[in-house]
């Protein structure tokens, strides 16, 4: 029953209803929502919101039926500035008191009159937060909200070949009422039907991100991808925040090598060489076959003047071979040079 013709008519019907709602975006969305919902309910168009369907058939036992993140400060968006507004809301909720105006220079692209998705991630990093892209899964969005994290979602509110791209912030949901609650445009805590949200969200691949304070790890984060997100924070020059994030990683993934190495490297970058040494020691203890751990420990020991131990560690690193052999050798050479010059004094 959900053939192309039906969909086309559903689309055209609600778009004309939008017109009738007097060009008002909010009014139009309400009417539009009713139309889509009626199509969904009447003809059971599972194709329009498949993940909502699946969720409703089997709600995970550990997913609360209702959740709302409070407070999530609301910033009504200026024209074209839904990117800065949405990012400001997420950052404020994570503890960074920044205004949309301050974010315009970081994330708004005048030539496109909008904000690119990757720049939303990058700008979150620049403000000291771990930018993490969620799985393209509705349940993941709800889980993060249930965990107390607002989610920035990328939607396409247009129809057929005319896209209308938009960022909104998901701040709550109510499964029994089939509602998702968003800060969107000029609307604070606006409830809407979950299948309607999914319909607009899935058009651009179900893109959703969170901006995490470094002390917390997203509920749905996976080990490798979260490590990559924290490395990206480190490379954006946020050593202090990245270090905290690496330490947080170890609470969830106690043996993760990148977390140890990251904590060590960021400590080193911050000038805390003693702390760096202890991190690399722990890395080498947990991963005795890791050339990076041994190499960086050796380098740190060298700089602290513990030359004998440095040399022994570097020799272990070189002995392991592998793709980073040249780097380990270079470190060993440096240590030998230092030891030779000490002897010659």
């Amino acid at each position: 029953m959900c053939g192309t013709k039906t969909r086309v008519f559903a689309g055209f019907s609600f778009m004309s209803a939008r017109l009738l709602a007097g060009f008002s975006f909010a009014g139009a969305r309400c009417v539009e929502g009713l139309f889509i919902l009626s199509v969904l309910l009447s003809s059971g168009c599972a194709g329009l919101a498949p993940q909502t369907d699946t969720l409703k058939q089997q709600i995970p036992a550990d997913l609360p039926s209702f959740a709302e993140v409070r407070p999530v400060p609301f910033f009504p968006q200026e024209e074209y500035h839904c990117g800065p507004a949405a990012l400001a809301m997420a950052l404020n909720a994570s503890g960074v008191p920044v205004t949309p105006t301050a974010l315009v220079d970081q994330v708004y692209l005048p030539g496109r009159q909008g904000s690119l998705q990757v720049e939303m991630l990058a700008a979150a990093r620049r403000n000291g937060r771990v930018a993490y892209l969620l799985e393209p899964d509705l349940t993941a969005v709800l889980r993060e909200v249930a965990d107390g994290t607002p989610v920035i979602a990328f939607e396409n509110l247009g129809i057929l070949f005319y896209p209308i791209w938009h960022y909104s912030v998901v701040v709550g949901y109510d499964l029994p009422r089939d509602q998702i609650i968003r800060h969107s445009g000029k609307h604070e805590r606006a409830p809407g039907p979950i299948p309607l949200f999914e319909f607009f969200w899935k058009k651009e691949g179900r893109w959703a991100m969170v901006a995490m304070p470094p002390e917390r790890v997203p509920a749905t984060a996976t080990e490798q991808r979260y490590a990559e997100a924290v490395v990206a924070l480190e490379k954006a020059g946020q050593a202090r925040n990245a270090r905290i994030a690496y330490e947080s990683m170890l609470k969830r993934w106690p043996t993760n090598l990148a977390a140890y190495m990251g904590a060590g490297n960021t400590s080193y970058a911050l000038g805390d060489i003693e702390v760096a040494e202890s991190w690399f020691r722990r890395a080498a203890k947990n991963h005795p076959d890791s050339v990076p751990a041994l190499n960086n420990l050796a380098q740190t020991l060298l700089e602290r003047g513990k030359l004998d131990e440095a040399r022994a560690t570097a020799e272990r690193a070189v002995g392991l071979g592998g793709p980073l052999l040249a780097r380990a050798r270079a470190t060993l050479d440096e240590i030998n040079k230092q030891q030779a010059s000490v002897k010659n004094r």
Partner: protein, 124 residues
């Protein structure tokens, strides 16, 4: 013409990288290297990443961003993110939510709707 210059520049840069007395630096192995799925550190990849970043920075400037701001913005992108947008900044989605444009779109679509009503009188 443009691609000729691109190739020339990239080959020149590769020569620079190879030609210099370029000893492997002693020192720290970065966290990014630890998580890298492959240890492919070839010079060609480095040049490609460098070119992609320069391209993205130029494209940001072409779209109205000043030099320093463009540099800062590119620096905060990961290599993968730079790859995803290099050369495509004109066409990839940009979240905006333009209220006024919606009205124009509506007018066009309503027109088509009216025409379709004419050909298919009963909407199913």
């Amino acid at each position: 013409m443009k691609s000729f210059f691109k190739r020339f520049i990239s080959q020149f840069l590769v020569l620079c990288l190879i030609g210099l007395p370029f000893t492997v630096q002693a020192g720290m192995i970065g966290t990014d290297e630890v998580i890298a799925q492959s240890q492919d550190q070839s010079d060609r990849n480095k040049v490609r990443d460098f070119m992609a970043r320069a391209e993205v920075q130029q494209q940001l400037q072409d779209h109205g961003i000043g030099l320093q701001a463009a540099q800062a913005r590119v620096n905060a992108l990961t290599d993968l993110e730079v790859q995803q947008i290099a050369g495509k900044i004109d066409s990839i989605p940009a979240g905006a939510d333009a209220g006024a444009t919606v009205a124009i779109v509506l007018a066009v679509i309503v027109l088509i709707y009216i025409l379709l009503q004419y050909f298919y009188p009963k909407a199913k």
